[in-house]
Amino acid sequence: MAEPQRNTPLLDELKKGPWPSFVTQIEEMADAGKEACDQLLRLLERSYNEKIGHWKHGGIVGVMGYGGGVIGRYNDLPEEFPAIAHFHTMRVNMPSGWFYTSDALRTICDIWDRHGSGLTNMHGSTGDIILLGTTTEHLEPCFAELTANDFDLGGSGSDMRTPSCCVGPARCEWACYDTLALTHDITNHFQDELHRPAFPYKFKIKCSGCPNDCVASIARADLSIIGTWRDRIRIDQAEVRNYAAAGLNIEREVCGNCPTKCIEWDGNELKIDDENCVRCMHCINAMPKALRPGVDTGATILLGAKAPIVEGAQLSSVLVPFMKIEPPYEELYDLIERIWDFWGEHGKNRERVGELMQRVGLGNFLEAIGVEPVPEMVAYPRDNPYIFYEEYFVEEGEEEEEEVEA
C-alpha cells in the first residue's frame, strides 16, 4: 500500500455497538480495494474532527437525454481526496413495494461494483435505490448496463419524482386498492415527466393502501393516494369475543380510542355506527383477526404535502374524498394532468404545488382544475369574514353592466 495509512479513530467508535454500522460497510469496500471508499472514510473522519461537511454544490451531470436521476457531487479538497473528487449518486427506480429476488440484487451489485463505489442506500428516502458515489465518465456506461437489465433511473430536479407505495395487497390484508399496480403504472405512464424535468419544482406521488399510510404519503408526497372504503367495516363477532377472552379490554382500548366514539361493545357484540366512522383504522389495527375494511374500496386523493422549504411544511389535504382506483386509472391521470397544467402555467420557480394551492387559495385552485368544492375538503369552513364575493349587482343606469365579474 503506497497510500497513507487510514487512521479513523472517531469513525472506529461507530463500528462498536449493537446496531449495524455504516462504517463497517464502507470499510469493507475500502479494504477490498475501492479507493473511493478509503478516501471517503478519511474525508468523513476529517468532518468528524472539524464538525463540518466537505461537499460542494453539485453541477449538472447526468445521462444523455435525461434531466434527472443523477445528483452531481464534488468535494472541496480534491487534491487530498482525488478518488472522490467526483462522487455523484445515481437514483435507480426501485420496483413497486421494494420487492427483490436475490438475483436482481446481485445484478445491481455487479453493475455498481464495476461502475461506482460499491456503496448504496437501500433505499433513499424517496424510495429509490441510491447508488452512492461515482465519477462523471461512469454515468453513461452504468446507465446502459442498468437498462440492459431492466432497471431505469428515478427522478431528481423539477420533475415527477419516483413514485412509491406500501407493500399493499402483496402482503397486507388492509390494502384498499392495488398500490403496487398503480405505482408501477403511474411510473410508466409518466416516464417523460419522470426523466425530463419541466415542472416548476419536484412532484412526489406516494400510494398507501389504507389510512395507516405506511409510506407517509400525507406528509411526504405532493399527491397522496390513501386507500379507504365506503361501505361497512366487516366484523367477525366470534373473533371479537376471542380477543376479549384473550384479555383485550375492548371497551377501553378499542371503543375508548375511537375518535368519533362510534363503536360499542356490550361484552358480546361489537356494533359500529359506520355512518360516523372516519376510517381511522384503529379498531381494525387493534383486532386484525376480527375486523376488516369494507369491500367497496378505493382511495382518498390528497394534495400538497412537502417539507418546510420555504413557505413552511404542509400535510396533504383532501382533493377527492373517494375515487375508485382501477386500471386504466383514467380519472386519476386526468386529474393529475389538470393539476400539472395549472401548476405548470401558474407555479413560480421552486414553488411546490401545495404552496401554489395556498397562494391562490384552495377555492380558486379547485376552480382552475375543474373540481367541485365539497365540505369534505375542509376541516372547518372559514372563520373570518373576508369573503371575496365575486359578483355584485349594479343599478340600471349605472355605467357598468348588470352583473359584473369583479
Binding site: 454500522s21 440484487l105 451489485c109 461494483d113 431505469d152 407517509a216 422549504i309
Partner: protein
Amino acid sequence: MSTQRRTDIGPPHYERFLPPVIKANYGKWKYHEILRPGVMVHVSETGDKLYTVRAGSPRLLSTKGIRRFAELADKYCDGYLRFTSRHNVEFLLTDESKIEPLIAELKAMGHPVGGIGPAISSIVHTQGWVHCHSAATDASGVVKAVMDELIEYFDGTKPVPGKLRIALACCLNMCGAVHCSDIAILGVHRRPPKIQHENLKKLCEIPNVVASCPTAAIRPAEVNGYPSVEIDEDLCMFCANCFSVCPALPMADPLNDGISIWVGGKVSNARSEPKFSKLAIPFLPNNPPRWPEVTEAVRKMVEVWAAHARKYERMGEFIDRIGWPRFFKLTGLEFRKEHIDDYRFAALSYKRSAWLRH
C-alpha cells in the same frame, strides 16, 4: 450488445420479484399476527401463510452487505426479500421452521431482528457528511449512535406502548421528512451565510439570490466595486434557501451547527389525525462520533413515553393527553423563547383558552 439505447423503460415489473405464495394470495390476505419481536405471519383466505422476518439495516449498504442479504434469502426463502419504507430488510418465508435459524444467522451477522408492532423501528434518515453539501450534522453517525442506545426498544427487550418513529434530517430541507415524526432529529445551522463575494459574482444571479430569501434579509449591494449582496443578520432564520440557489453563501459552521429535537408528530390516521412534530430542544452541539447530548435527550424522551403513555398511544397523543407543560416537566426540558412559534401560523399556537393544569 444492442446498439439501440434503452431509455424510459421504467422499473422492472414487481411481479417478477414476488414469491409464489404472494402471487397465489395477492389481495387475499385475511389477517396477520405478530409471533415475536420482528416476526409476523400473514394468513390468507386460502389458508396459506407467509412469515416475515424483519431485520435492522444501516441503510448505507455496501454491495458486500447486499450480497450477504441475498445469500440469506437464497438460504431461507428461495431468494425472496424486500425492504421496508423505513429501510429495514424483510425476509419472506413460507417455512416456519426456518425462522429461528434465520434469526440466529442475522443476529450473528450483527443485524438485530425487531421493529414490528409496538416498537421503535429504524430511523428514516439522510446523507449528512457522507454526501450532502447542505448538512449541518452527520446523518448515519447520529443514527448509529441513537439506535445503539435504543436497541432494546427495537428488538423487543423493552416493551413500549405503541409505535415510535424517529427520523433524522441533516438540514432544514428535511429529506428525512422529520416534520411528522414521534421524535425528529434535525440538523440546524445557526449562523447567517458567510458571503463569498468573489464566488458570488461568478456563480450566482443576484436577483435570484435576493428573491430566495423568505424574510427579505438579502439585499443587493456593491462590494469592492462589484455587484454582490448584503445580509441583514437580524432577519436571518437560517433556512439556507439562499445557499440552495447560490453556492457562494455557505451556511455550514463548526461552531454554530448542531442539532434540534422535535417531538410528537405522526403520519397515520389511527386514533388521531396526522400531526407535525413540535420543538422540544432548540439546540444541542455536534459532538461526534457519538453525539452523547443527542442520544441522552432522545433516550430520556423515550423513557418518559414508555413509562407514562397508555397502550397504542403515540408520543404526540400522549403529550396531548398530559399537556405540554407536564411533558416539559417530566422530561426535564427547559421552555424557552425559541419554543414559541413566531412564523406564519404562530398565533394559532398560542394558548387561547383557560384550560390549564395548575
